[in-house]
């Protein structure tokens, strides 16, 4: 079922943009994977962002998500730090700047569509796919709901429908996969009034970003977030203030998630191959030890028996000899006595 759905989307993609659906991310293979060459991305530039929340509203609309209690025009919502949740794929957060004379700076929280996604590599039913478009998609029809992908995602993006009793799903930004497959812009990008969001080939976006930094080095931090973070992401970020000040971690490193687990996965065949040999060997040794000790016992018993036997024999001999002797003495005595007795009457007679 799931496959046909994917295929269907794939055909749409092929018809529209000449893009086909990528295979399920086989992220844990040992081959280095630096992303599909022509994959798309979005560059978010917070120097251009005015924090109008129009992208949030658009995301809600194109994804048919329920409207939040307070309208998107209400900017006081941004006074609180928020995160993505089951009904929100995109969150704009506001960070007040103290001491540098600047107004507030904004930051986007949403799926970064990693080149080698932790979520995809961690899912034990392969519910996620890294498509050739760059979008990381999720197939709710196979998801078991173990939530390991939420543990794995370094950006804390996937959210879960905890209040759904029977068919809870993981929820996250789809990169507007249905739209971009049809050649449309992602909802958030389309509506952005300041072009703080730019959609394009990832490789082109990297160039654009570099250019912007070069042209206004005093306005930008010299770093493109997402170029290498966790092995790289399809969404890229430019910022006027250090990334750690707008809630983005700078300590994630450049190792893609699958590389973190490949060692442990690689140990499986070793254990499966070596353990039986080792264990059988140990078993054989302990069996042999047991056998030897059994043999030793056996031998000891035999020896003991033999010894006992010979002892018994010699005793018997002695006893026999003794008996013989006793017998002899007895005879001697008897003879002597008989002789004496025989002599007695004689003497009596004599007397």
């Amino acid at each position: 079922m799931s496959i046909s759905r994917r295929k269907f989307l794939g055909w749409i993609g092929a018809a529209g943009f000449g893009m086909t659906v990528g295979k399920t991310a086989r992220a844990a293979s040992n081959k280095h994977f630096s992303g599909y060459p022509d994959s798309m991305g979005v560059l978010y530039d917070n120097v251009l962002c005015i924090g109008c929340r129009k992208c949030e509203a658009s995301c809600q609309k194109v994804n048919d998500l329920p409207m939040p209690p307070k309208p998107f025009e209400d900017l006081t919502v941004m006074d609180q730090n928020r995160r993505t949740d089951a009904d929100t794929f995109l969150v704009m957060n506001k960070y007040e700047q103290v001491g540098n004379g600047r107004g507030p700076v904004f930051s986007r929280m949403g799926c970064n569509h990693c080149l080698e996604p932790a979520c995809a590599s961690s899912c034990f039913v392969a519910a996620y796919s890294k498509t050739k478009t760059g979008a990381v998609t999720y197939d709710a029809s196979v998801c078991v709901g173990c939530r390991y992908c939420m543990i794995a995602c370094p950006f804390n993006i996937p959210a879960y429908e905890y209040d759904e009793a029977f068919t809870p799903r993981i929820r996250k930004c789809t990169f507007c996969y249905p739209r971009i497959s049809k050649g449309l812009l992602p909802g958030c990008v389309e509506i952005c009034p300041t072009e703080a969001l730019t959609y394009g080939k990832r490789s082109d976006l990297l160039k654009v970003a570099r250019q912007r930094i070069q042209q206004a080095p005093d306005r930008y931090v010299d770093h493109i977030y997402g170029e290498n973070e966790m092995g790289g992401t399809n969404w890229l970020y430019l910022s006027g203030v250090p990334f750690k000040d707008i809630g983005m971690r700078e300590d994630l490193g450049v190792t893609p998630a699958p590389a973190l687990t490949s060692g442990a996965l690689g140990a499986v065949p070793i254990v499966v191959g070596l353990w039986p040999v080792l264990l059988t060997g140990i078993y054989a040794m302990s069996k042999r030890k047991e056998k030897i000790s059994q043999q030793e016992t056996q031998q000891a018993v035999t020896e003991a028996l033999e010894k006992a036997q010979s002892e018994a024999d010699s005793k018997l001999e002695q006893a026999m000899a003794k008996a013989q002797k006793e017998k002899e003495t007895a005879i001697d005595k008897a003879v002597k006595k008989a002789l004496e007795e025989a002599a007695k009457p004689k003497s009596e007679e004599e007397a």
Partner: protein, 390 residues
């Protein structure tokens, strides 16, 4: 059967039954809520904290503490320590029950439990360590079931079937050790993918090895601990051999546990040095880490050693309890306490009381079934028809 009924009548309102009964009733109510209203109603799980005590305790601790099965059967059948033979059946039984309950607990935790077979029948996600865990746990549960079945078959009088299964003992034991090595370590390896979330003192590329070795420690200590409890409550069920070998087992397993704990301590220290994490030791988490390492690894190693040297059975038994607590602490640290350590405290997870109810409910179920089985099947004694056969 009629005699069963009378004993049941006599012992219906024992303290154990009353408490267990209450827990079961409460557990069933929460179960109803969980499956009609969803996870959100009965848990404090959140988008930041997708795993709570049903994973941290029921899965991670459950699997570690059920390690007695493979540790004991390996010691007896593979390493040839025949004098511990009477420990095998109780250990296999607790292992089997432990794993069965782990699987039961998972049905509460995952969002759509009826899809638990999906990774095997619909679409395998072989890049996931969770896939390895799931596959090994499923297979090992089967192995434990087979290893346990001779006792049930003796009870049922199915001699022929029993004979075939007993012949498999060696194969099952080796298979069990392989599967246990794999999933005990993979449970630790689950966290390899989240270096940015688990505190560096607990995160290590050695974590699969740590989990595997602590499972041996847990297994050895649990055998001592359960043996002590069982002797207290089921002594009347035990035969001559069992009673005779009992102290030997405590001494032997205590000595082994002391050595393994010492080895574990060493590789833990190597782990800190390898990642050069010494500077974290002066932080709050560092102190907590030292509590675990010194209080629950170094100390029990020492106490076990003293206990075996002086043949102090009481000391060894208490050390076993302490060590088991240490393993529980370790699993909770990795999964819950040192996990998400960088989040503000308002975003951290504290279990909902109903989550605790379910965990307690599941442990209670285990005790009830354990009691049912040992009072009926030849676990603590050899069945007269099969004596001295093993």
């Amino acid at each position: 059967m009629s005699s069963d009924a009378t004993t049941a009548k006599q012992s219906l309102f024992t303290p154990f039954n009353v408490v267990a009964g209450l827990i079961v009733v409460l557990g069933l109510i929460v179960t109803g809520l969980r499956f009609t209203k969803g996870l959100g109603t009965v848990t404090n799980l959140s988008d930041y904290n997708p795993w709570g005590i049903w994973i941290g305790f029921d899965l991670l601790v459950g699997v570690a503490l059920a390690a007695g099965g493979y540790v004991t059967s390996a010691a007896v059948y593979i390493f040839g320590f025949k004098k511990y033979h009477s420990a095998v059946r109780p250990a296999i039984l607790t292992g089997f029950l432990g794993y069965a309950l782990v699987v039961l607990a998972l049905h509460y935790d995952v969002g759509q439990p009826w899809r638990l077979p999906y990774p095997f029948i619909v679409q395998p996600g072989t890049t996931s360590l969770l896939f390895e865990v799931a596959a090994c746990v499923a297979l090992y549960l089967t192995v434990l079931f087979l290893e346990f079945s001779p006792a049930a078959l003796e009870w049922l009088g199915l001699q022929r079937l029993r004979k075939y299964i007993v012949r498999l003992t060696m194969v099952l034991t080796i298979f069990g050790v392989i599967l246990s090595t794999l999933h005990q370590s993979s449970l630790g390896a689950l966290f390899l993918i989240a270096p940015s979330k688990l505190h560096p003192l607990w995160y290590s590329s050695y974590i699969p090895i740590y989990f595997f070795i602590t499972s041996i420690i847990a297994g050895l200590s649990m055998v001592i601990f359960e043996g002590t409890l069982s002797h207290r409550y089921f002594a009347d069920k035990m035969d001559e051999t069992h009673l005779q070998e009992k102290d030997d087992i405590v001494l032997g397993f205590g000595k082994a546990a002391s050595l393994v704990l010492a080895g574990y301590l060493i590789i833990k220290i190597i782990g800190i040095s390898a990642d050069n994490n010494w500077h974290y030791l002066s932080t709050g988490y560092g102190v907590w880490f030292l509590v675990e390492l010194i209080g629950f690894v170094a100390l029990p190693s020492f106490l076990y050693a003293v206990g075996t040297r002086d043949k102090n059975l009481l000391l060894i038994k208490w050390t076993a309890v302490w060590t088991v607590l240490g393993v529980i602490l370790n699993r909770l640290n990795v999964c819950l306490i040192a996990f998400n350590w960088q989040l503000p405290s308002s975003e951290r997870y504290v279990p909902h009381w109903m989550e605790i109810v379910i965990s307690v409910f599941i442990v209670t179920l285990g005790l009830i079934i354990f009691r049912f089985i040992v009072t009926r099947m030849p676990i603590f004694y050899e069945h007269p028809d099969y004596e001295g056969e093993h």
